[in-house]
């Protein structure tokens, strides 16, 4: 296989694997801040027990997130040297800001968060929890800024030609607030909140179904359900706003998301379908003119289609972009329905009466994870053939001096190590969940004095 394909496979694999963990850390961080805040406010032991329990799972998640994240930081240089030279001037300041402002905050307070229970006062511990949470939020900001710049470059000019061409910053804030940054940061944050909230929902639904830790599980479930309901719904808004931006800034990507080929015609909105790139037809169920309506509030408005672009400037995998995008949207809509219904029952005081609903929640942990993954796939594959939209092509960006044998070597290493790591993660987290927040065999009153 050629170097470009191998480099892309390796990058896709390592980033997709990495992206299982940071969203969980951000989401669990939020939940822990709420739980520990409630503990400080009410003084109820139950919230302390919950915070300590989720902290254990958070610690494992965070650890793997950091370990796999360092690899990402250096993989730009190892496998995408041309690209690194091209964007260094732009990315640099974002990465430097991330390291100093976000990562320093996160990692320094992490030690206190995990090991500091017996060494600092509850207030200082709570501040550490907030510090780690904010750090992980900032971290997401700078990474998404860098990626958004690749999607919608702004605040730069191109200097030099051929091999020596590179982008240089002309306006730092225009670069940071490039047209897609804000929408995408919010969308990514919310995706992370959902990942965390649904893990909490899932675990405590499982406990409730088993009749274990019932009192504290009800509390935790309600906290997570509150977060999940609000965020599922607002995710729709940020998603819509983000898609509006794509319509303006990356029309080829939008066209690929809906399989819209005609150069300028009203576009349909598919609920599901299958794109045939050769015949340029989509078979599936659609709302005629639906995409036109979403973009321009007019069912007849023309939308730029893929045929408006030369063949070599279109995303290569239209059907994949279409499918990934639609899976994400479908999951998002399902989560809205699920959380709204559960909240309705909560309001009625019947939240924990329906076993089938708890069962759905127990399995729902996978849904935001899948949505986060496929959402990124759609965003990144929809940007092709560009690595920097409109400026640098992916097939120009990889390291010229690296051979396919070297990448095969590292790719196999990654596959082996990451598979083991993933199994260990599942095993450890599962064990912690099975073990539970406290030892049931002992007198629970010892742990839960409020009962």
């Amino acid at each position: 296989m050629d170097v470009e394909i191998l480099a892309r496979i390796q990058f896709a694999f390592t980033i997709a694997f990495h992206y299982i963990y940071p969203p969980l850390s951000i989401g669990l961080g939020l939940i822990m801040v709420i739980m520990e805040g409630l503990y400080l406010k009410t003084g109820k032991k139950a919230y302390e027990v919950l915070t300590r329990f989720w902290l254990k799972i958070f610690a494992v998640t965070f650890g793997i997130g950091v370990a796999t994240g360092i690899i990402m930081e250096f993989e730009f240089g190892t496998n995408w040297a041309v690209y690194s030279r091209y964007v260094g001037d732009i990315f640099g300041s974002a990465l430097a800001a991330e390291g100093l402002f976000a990562f320093g905050l996160e990692s320094a307070f992490l030690g206190v968060l995990i090991f500091g229970w017996n060494r600092v006062s509850p207030k200082v511990h709570f501040i550490s929890t907030i510090g780690v949470f904010l750090g992980s939020m900032f971290s997401a900001v700078w990474i998404v800024v860098a990626n958004s710049w690749q999607q919608t470059p702004a605040g730069y000019h191109i200097v030099g030609e051929g091999f020596n061409a590179r982008a240089e910053v002309t306006d730092f804030w225009a670069m940071v607030f490039n047209p897609s940054s804000v929408d995408r940061i919010i969308h990514v944050w919310q995706g992370a909140f959902l990942a965390g909230a649904f893990l909490v929902l899932s675990v405590h639904a499982y406990y409730l179904l088993k009749g274990r830790y019932v009192e504290i599980s009800k509390k935790a479930f309600k906290i997570a359900l509150g977060v999940a309901t609000i965020v599922s719904f607002s995710q729709l808004i940020s998603g819509h706003s983000s898609a509006d931006g794509v319509a303006v800034n990356q029309p080829a990507k939008l066209a690929a998301m809906e399989g819209h080929y005609q150069a300028s015609a009203p576009a349909d909105l598919y609920l599901f379908g299958w794109v045939n790139n050769d015949t340029q037809e989509v078979s599936g169920v659609s709302i005629p003119g639906g995409l036109s309506f979403l973009v321009d509030q007019d069912f007849e408005a023309p939308i730029t289609g893929l045929n408006a672009f030369p063949e070599e400037d279109r995303p290569g995998q239209v059907n994949a972009v279409f499918q990934f995008y639609h899976i994400m949207v479908s999951i998002g809509l399902f989560l809205i329905a699920l959380t709204l219904y559960a909240s309705f029952l909560w309001w009625k005081g019947k939240l924990f009466d329906k076993k089938w609903l708890l069962k759905i929640f127990a399995f729902s942990v996978l849904l935001p994870q899948i949505a986060n993954q496929v959402g990124w796939f759609a965003a990144e594959m929809g940007r092709q053939p560009w690595i920097v939209y409109g400026h640098l092509r992916t097939d120009e960006g990889f390291s010229q001096e690296v051979s396919s044998n070297q990448i095969l070597f590292s790719l196999i290493l990654f596959l082996v190590v990451y598979t083991i790591l993933f199994l260990l993660f599942i095993y450890t987290v599962n064990k912690k969940i099975k073990h539970g927040p406290y030892d049931e065999a002992k007198n629970p009153n010892e742990f839960l004095k409020y009962v």
Binding site: A59, I64, G92, A96, G116, S399, L424
Partner: protein
């Protein structure tokens, strides 16, 4: 070109990157170093204590690598890209070992089975040892130069060529420096019989360090071209090897007096002076080309734009005090001997 205190922006950024990597070497030096002693500690409890000595700190220490890497990417993208893509195999190994090392710390104490813990102990020991060794190997390769042609294109060997007698030698020296640093750090964190055992191990480590230090220094002075000339140009910098030598000599003295905190300071200073020496030797080159000096990567042809460097210097001025604050808080909180409790690894 704009300057601050008579130094142009690329030079200032060179100092920032140097500072970050010195911080990384000093802090992760005792983490990796402690890990490289792991199998020399016999009992399970001793090994647990050793891991928990760095427990709350290593994640924060690792930030120096992350910021250092970011600073390199940011300020010298050409250096970042050329170094990583040319040294593909050692860096991939390095990254993979970092993952294994983190996993070992996280998962070792998750189970009580003896085979489980022993397996992780071996992984932990090997990864720490090899990480320290590889860092030295990469440093040696940079000092010797890469086979760089026009447009920084690397045409050298790709799998094992990074291992030369000199790079192996520097690799061992780095390992022994880290092991000395690590043993001193563990002495500060332990008591009782483990403490006694470590005093014994530290003596071995220092002997190893002094020998490899002497051999590597001699070799560098004799065989690396231009080292002496550089001092002839700017004799004032001859103070660096003198300081490094004094710091090295001071470590065994302080250890024998049982002043471990001071010994750790001087062991750290040793690393700082040695890295300054390297930085001085290279400046303004980042990676010499073995083909023709005009193809070398320098701080000028590798640097980001003035504008970008200016922004980043501002970011550093704001961020550095914050970072210093976090670290003070963290190290103050976990000051003193290791005490295992329910939150420990």
């Amino acid at each position: 070109m704009e300057t601050i205190l008579g130094l142009d922006y690329p030079t200032l950024w060179y100092l920032v990157v140097g500072l970050l990597f010195s911080g990384y070497a000093i802090l992760e030096g005792f983490d990796y170093g402690a890990g490289a002693w792991h199998l020399f500690l016999r009992k399970d409890l001793s090994r647990r204590i050793a891991i928990n000595a760095i427990g709350p700190l290593w994640d924060a220490n690792q930030v120096w690598l992350i910021i250092g890497g970011g600073a390199l990417f940011a300020g010298f993208p050409v250096m970042y890209a050329t170094m990583l893509s040319s040294m593909y195999v050692p860096f991939m190994l390095f990254l993979m070992l970092l993952v294994l090392r983190s996993s070992a710390i996280k998962f070792r104490s998750a189970e009580k089975m003896l085979w489980w813990r022993k397996t992780w102990d071996i992984i932990y020991f090997i990864s720490n040892t090899l990480i320290a060794f590889l860092l030295g190997v990469v440093l040696a390769n940079i000092l010797q130069g890469f086979e760089l042609h026009e447009n920084f294109s690397y045409k050298g060997g790709i799998f094992f060529s990074f291992l030369s007698p000199y790079s192996v030698m520097v690799g061992f020296t780095t390992l022994s420096v880290f092991m000395t640093q690590g043993a001193i750090f563990l002495l500060l964190k332990t008591e009782g019989r483990l403490h006694t055992r470590l005093t014994f191990l530290l003596k071995r480590g220092m002997v190893l360090f002094l020998i490899s230090f002497a051999v590597t220094s001699t070799y560098t002075l004799t065989f690396l071209p231009g080292v002496i000339n550089k001092f002839k140009e700017t004799p004032i910098f001859f103070i660096l090897p003198v300081l490094a030598f004094l710091a090295v000599a001071n470590v065994p003295r302080l250890v024998s007096k049982k002043k471990y905190a001071h010994a750790l300071v001087f062991s750290s200073l040793t690393m700082a002076f040695l890295l300054m020496l390297v930085a001085f030797q290279l400046y303004p080159v980042l990676i010499p080309s073995t083909v023709d000096p005009k193809y070398s990567v320098t701080i000028y042809n590798a640097a980001s734009s003035q504008k970008s460097l200016g922004i980043m210097l501002t970011i550093v001025l704001i961020g550095a005090p914050l970072l210093a604050g976090y670290f003070l808080f963290l190290y103050k909180t976990f000051h003193g001997k290791v005490k295992l409790d329910d939150t420990s690894y």
